[in-house]
């Protein structure tokens, strides 16, 4: 069509180069020293794949493509640049969702292009089309729910109703049946029903999952979108899509398992398990009755805590999501510097899933220039608590809940936690007594060792800084 069109062989060769760069990129992304360059290598591979596609003989017109890329690039750059660090997890969910949505839209468009003229589609493209429409739609709507939960547009706690799993199973079966009908009849309504059913199923799949499990869910849906992209590659007979999509499908699945393992949860457990079933719904209620039994929390003032910190030998800071929302990382580092100037040893205990994403806390504290050697991961931190005078819990909740060790009824039972209650004193900085993201009560707060300092984490830490200076 245009004089610049390259031969299909040249284009496929360029796709092969792009695929190699994507592979090298993922490899480098999985090691700390090379991660940043890995991302850039992958981006270069992606650029090559996109640019060479412009010269494909299959493309007749450019207006639509250029306009679409321009609009998408503006939205993509703006959302990636403007988002606060704390909102990164939901951005990943959003970007993942639109990728799945793109796969579903392509499937529907291809179905429309091939079906009416050719009558019944033959099996090969059909399977790919149905698969990417199904998986892409689930990934799209599921990711949007994950986004809404993390953005707190929807409640983070599991939303459940009786017989949910039966309803979900029937819905899924009906959706697949619509896909089969779409393939065997001429009526295009079935592909619309397939997409509609898959969209609803995606919502139903993620609604009953608690906010604390969202990282695992996003990783799972990420793998889903990868497989949808691979299926699209089968439909379009395009190796770049097959390789890129499959790599993400496979590595995303493994990553999901690894993330689940860090929380001591299997994927099945996250998707259909404890948080969504009966024990979870009775959990918070039982805990509230516990409050009624007259268990008391001990509230303290910032000045009391400042004195306690100033005369400690070792303080361990346990950061959590509260630190992130309050943007308290810089104030926290300032507090640590004040304490170190007085000879107090300060360390940070980072739970693998503290915050809303693994590594969330490392990123924030690194941003505040907290020296890396002070950051201890869970295995190194736990032996330090018995040797510490104060464990200062800044907006962390579920990752410190002793119920994970002691209460088999608890939805988080078995999750490895930070043993903050082994420290001589525990000070918890928290906005209110509201339960954490998992929606369950934290017994730590009723421990006689524990003192609560209520308020915004940053405001509280700033008061502590002033208090320590005054001591």
């Amino acid at each position: 069509m245009i004089p610049l069109a390259l031969s299909q062989n040249t284009i496929n060769l360029a796709y092969a180069v792009a695929a190699i760069l994507l592979i090298v990129g993922i490899k480098r992304l999985s090691s700390p020293a090379t991660a940043r360059s890995g991302n850039i290598v992958a981006a270069v591979g992606m650029t090559i794949a996109v640019v060479v596609t412009f010269f494909s003989p299959a493309i007749d017109s450019y207006g639509l493509i250029v306009a679409g890329i321009a609009v998408g690039a503006v939205i993509g750059v703006a959302s990636a640049r403007l988002v606060r660090m704390t909102a990164m997890p939901q951005m990943v969910a959003l970007f993942n969702g639109v990728g799945g949505g793109a796969a579903a839209l392509i499937a529907v468009s291809e179905f429309h292009r091939l079906a009416p003229a050719a009558g019944h589609l033959d099996g090969e493209p059909l399977v790919g089309i149905m698969f990417s429409a199904l998986i892409g739609s689930i990934s799209f709507s599921g990711s949007m729910v994950a986004f809404a939960k993390l953005q707190e547009l929807l409640p983070g706690r599991p939303l459940t109703f009786a017989g949910q799993q039966v309803v979900n199973a029937l819905l899924f079966a009906a959706t697949v049946a619509a896909g089969i009908a779409a393939g065997t009849t001429d009526d295009q309504i079935w592909i619309a029903l397939l997409v509609a059913g898959a969209l609803v199923f995606g919502v139903m799949l993620v609604l009953p999952i608690g906010g604390a499990d969202m990282p695992v869910v996003i990783s799972f849906l990420n793998a889903f979108t990868g497989l949808a992209a691979a299926a699209t590659g089968f439909v379009l007979d395009n190796n770049a899509l097959i390789i890129g999509g499959t790599l993400v499908g496979a590595s995303g699945t493994l990553l999901t398992v690894l993330m689940g393992r860090a929380m001591n949860r299997s994927l099945a457990n996250v998707l259909f398990g404890a948080f969504g079933s009966a024990p979870a719904s009775t959990g918070p209620a039982a805990a509230q009755e516990g409050d009624g039994d007259g268990r008391m929390v001990r509230e303290v003032t910032a000045d009391d805590v400042a004195v306690m910190l100033a005369y400690a030998n070792q303080v361990i800071v346990v950061p959590g999501y509260g630190l992130a929302v309050a943007q308290a990382q810089h104030a926290t580092r300032e507090l640590a510097e004040q304490l170190e100037a007085r000879g107090v040893k300060v360390k940070y205990a980072i739970h693998p899933v503290a915050g809303r994403m693994p590594g969330h806390m490392n990123v924030l504290l690194a941003e505040a220039n907290v020296p890396y050697p002070q950051l201890l991961d869970m295995e190194d931190a736990n032996p330090e608590f018995p040797r510490s005078d104060v464990a200062l819990v800044v907006g962390a909740n579920d990752v410190t809940n002793p119920a994970a060790r002691s209460n088999p009824e608890s939805p988080i039972y078995g999750m490895p936690i930070l043993d903050v209650d082994k420290a001589t004193n525990v000070v918890v900085l928290k906005r209110s007594m509201k339960p954490g993201f998992a929606g369950i009560e934290n017994e730590l707060y009723y421990n006689p060792k524990t003192a609560m300092l209520f308020g915004d984490a940053r405001a509280s830490i700033e008061k502590l800084v002033a208090g320590v200076k005054a001591v």
Binding site: I26, A80, I106, S219, A229, L254
Partner: protein
């Protein structure tokens, strides 16, 4: 089965195997950036959207393909930029040249 399908399945199987092997021992610290980076990589769906848009016949197909291109581009551009921002946070940290 067509010859194209067989070669596609071969590539699929190898890529699957490679995907599992690639990220064998990734430290927890990198789980989120790795998820975000692979998230950007499935933005390769943009290539599919471009091919579909370039040969779309009807208005419906054009609209679907246009939205798919917008979505795919957001996935690619946003995905890589957010990953870069995350990893950028690590680089100023002193004394972490040798892994972990």
């Amino acid at each position: 089965m067509s010859a194209e399908l067989i070669s596609s399945l071969t590539i699929f199987a190898l890529a699957m195997f490679l995907g599992f092997e690639l990220i064998g021992r990734v430290p927890t610290l990198l789980h989120t950036p790795l998820m975000s980076g692979t998230n950007a990589i499935h933005g390769i769906i943009l290539v599919g959207a471009m091919l579909v848009a370039g040969s779309a016949d009807s208005d419906l197909e054009k609209i679907l393909a246009f939205v798919a291109i917008v979505f795919g581009t957001i996935n690619v551009v946003g995905g890589f930029l957010v990953t870069d921002r995350m990893l950028d946070m690590f680089k100023r940290r002193p004394g972490r040249e040798d892994g972990e």
